[in-house]
């Protein structure tokens, strides 16, 4: 039995004295609940398995912060590639805009880690150890000296802490890899005290969040929950109550009453403590529990489904549903532009990073025979295999030569090196400053990296008139 019917003027989970009203949502089953459970199993499976699956010799997802190498589904990224994160974040942003405008808070109810862990892990354990909502509420009222409460709640605390520790360890495995994590776990905590402290703190935080804080996070802390009001409109898919069909509420036997029999099942199963019949509310995470609960009751009454259903606010009030609207096309256009640019950028990624800086001192040197420019080549091998490199000049004027780095250079894995590079041109062939392209290519021809270089020197006419003044 729920405490009372929620209203829209106060938060159900906060009592009038500021204390917490701890919710005990009733069991619910139905097609949406089952579909949600399936999605949750898939996502949980991905979370647990990703560090175990190896692609190209590395875990599918391994963010090696210590070595600054990031392995994502077989691709290797170095810290130099961090700018690509821009596309990931904006891409996520536009996807979020798009999905929310179209489908409302689908993320919150179906895919958010908070919901997945709470609904499909912690609440399952709670249901298993403490029984139904009615039984859990009864346990709340008992004193801790009651052996049943002590046993059931105590067991729950132990299982919750173990689960939190497990989730925290898997989280850490994404950053240090499983073998390393396993080594650390067998070592003395003092050997890796910072990692130990991190996992301990994360375990505590997860326990606090999933054992007590729960929907307060969605309701008060989560910024995404607040974005909703700006991102949804009357044509967005939300969960709502068909007021026209439902009102006035009354007994099933009353022919003048609407379809709603005021059984309060929708309120009892709600994990955030709202009454969906009072309209679209900011607390709603779109879990569809009330949809399954109401359809169940409608089945028993022999009435059609859909008194509480997935629909747009327009659809719920009997107006025309409009899925395609200008903002959707706008978001899609942004997504496509972003994805295209991202794809172009990803295609320019090379296993090495190259930068050319003019050596300190004069911009150019004139000797008896030559005009000379000196550079430092900084080469970074971002991959964990050695790379052999060839150097060549493109579009160089006659007589301009590359000195020093013309032979093959082998760059060891993950290594950074600086090489001097000298461009030299005979005075008799010198025709003035030139823009040339240095082409660095892999010996196995897997990639080439063009880099534009400015060859500087004096005015060619002045140089011819000048008598030679050597300065090596």
């Amino acid at each position: 039995m729920p405490c009372s019917i929620p209203n829209r003027d106060s938060v159900t989970t906060i009592n009038s004295d500021g204390s917490r009203n701890f919710l005990h949502p009733a069991d619910v089953n139905g097609p949406f609940s089952q579909a949600r459970r399936l999605v949750a199993v898939l996502i949980l499976g991905a979370y647990v398995l990703l560090p175990w699956i190896k692609i190209n010799g590395h875990p599918a997802v391994f963010l090696d912060v210590a070595e600054r190498r990031f392995y994502l589904l077989g691709c290797t990224f170095a810290s130099q590639d961090i700018w690509l994160l821009f596309f990931l974040i904006t891409g996520l942003g536009f996807t979020l805009f798009f999905v929310t405008a179209l489908l409302g808070r689908l993320w919150c109810g179906w895919a958010c880690p908070q919901t997945i862990f709470l609904e499909h892990v912690y609440r399952r354990v709670e249901r298993w150890l403490e029984g139904t909502a009615h039984h859990r509420r009864m346990l709340d009222g008992l004193s801790w000296t009651n052996p049943e409460k002590l046993l059931r709640r105590g067991a729950k605390v132990v299982v919750f802490v173990l689960l939190s520790a497990l989730i925290a360890h898997i989280f850490l495995a994404y950053f240090v890899s499983l073998p390393e994590l396993y080594n650390w776990m067998r070592d003395d905590p003092a050997q890796h005290w910072s990692a130990f402290l991190f996992v301990a703190a994360l375990t505590g935080l997860l326990y606090f969040n999933f054992a007590w804080f729960r929907e307060q996070f969605c309701n008060i802390l989560c910024p995404y929950g607040r974005f909703q009001s700006a991102l949804t409109d009357d044509n967005t898919l939300v969960i709502g109550y068909d007021t026209k069909r439902g009102e006035p509420r009354g007994k099933a036997s009353d022919p003048k009453a609407g379809a709603c029999v005021n059984c309060l099942r929708c309120v009892q199963v709600c994990p955030v403590g709202i009454d969906i019949r009072q309209g679209f509310q900011i607390e709603c995470i779109g879990c569809a529990g009330c949809v399954d609960a109401c359809n169940d009751v409608m089945d028993k009454l022999g009435r059609p489904h859909g008194l509480v259903r997935y629909d747009s606010l327009n659809g719920l009030t009997g107006k025309r549903r409009r899925i395609l609207r200008p903002r959707l096309f706008l978001y899609t256009a942004f997504l496509i532009v972003g994805a295209t640019v991202a794809l172009l950028c990803f295609s320019t990624l090379r296993p090495i990073d190259l930068s050319i800086v003019r050596m300190g001192g004069r911009p150019y040197f004139i000797t008896q025979d030559t005009v000379r420019n000196q550079f430092n080549l900084r080469l970074i091998n971002k991959h964990d295999t050695p790379v052999s490199l060839h150097f060549a000049l493109d579009g160089a004027p006659t007589g301009l030569q590359l000195v020093g780095t013309s032979d093959t250079v082998v760059l060891p894995p993950d290594e950074e090196t600086v090489l001097p590079m000298v461009l030299q041109q005979s005075r008799s062939l010198y025709t003035g400053p030139a823009k040339v392209t240095l082409r660095v290519s892999a010996a196995d021809k897997s990639f080439t990296l063009p880099m534009s270089v400015e060859f500087l020197g004096p005015d060619a006419r002045l140089l011819r008139e000048d008598t030679a003044t050597p300065s090596p």
Binding site: S4, R20, M138, Q216, G360, G361, L419, V422, P472
Partner: protein
């Protein structure tokens, strides 16, 4: 059984204040929220006590200073005891020379030639020296460079340890008693080639 806790939920409490006929609800903040505020206040007192009194700020300053010292010590360890005699001794040490060889053939050979025969830079295989014949003078040339010429300062790129090795490598081809100081314009690499 637990009695219903919020029976008065439907009684809406309004604040007396009214702006243009608009009134606000007078609801309590969640207690856990207030506790975070109280916690922050308590923390601020201790943080202030720690950093505003001597020990905290000084401890932080000292920690920074000691870490800078450690870095400096590491940086200078290679040059502190360095003198001509040590460099000559190093130039006769096979492993140091081998390491210097590696440095030379990854960087210096570009200008000074694979066999130290010179090219863009001076010849280092002969016994004629322009910028000094003492090992420490050669060390200085590599460390600071020679202004106005193509020889840049290699300190930032190589560091004292590698510079020591490469100077030892160059000295390994020299005889301490037979190094001759010459004026710049007599350096053979600069002589005009017909």
């Amino acid at each position: 059984m637990n009695p219903p806790r919020n029976l008065n939920r439907d009684e809406v409490v309004l604040r007396e204040h009214s702006f243009d006929g608009i009134q606000e609800f007078d609801q309590r903040l969640p207690n856990w929220w207030l506790y975070t505020l109280f916690g922050a206040i308590v923390f601020a007192v201790f943080a202030w006590l720690f950093f505003a009194t001597d020990n905290g700020a000084e401890a932080a300053t000292n920690r920074l200073a000691s870490q800078l010292d450690t870095l400096d010590a590491k940086r200078f360890a290679a040059i502190k005891d360095l003198d001509d005699k040590t460099l000559w001794a190093m130039s006769r040490n096979q492993s140091i020379v081998a390491q210097g060889d590696k440095v030379f053939h990854s960087i210096c050979y570009t200008c000074h030639g694979t066999n130290l025969e010179g090219g863009i830079g001076f010849r280092l295989s002969d016994n004629l020296w322009v910028h000094g014949t003492k090992p420490m003078e050669i060390f200085g040339v590599v460390t600071h460079g020679v202004p106005g010429t193509g020889m840049q300062s290699w300190n930032a790129q190589l560091g004292p340890a590698k510079i020591t090795q490469v100077v030892a490598f160059v000295l390994s081809k020299q005889d301490p008693n037979n190094m001759i100081l010459i004026p710049r314009d007599q350096e053979p690499t600069l002589q005009h080639k017909p």
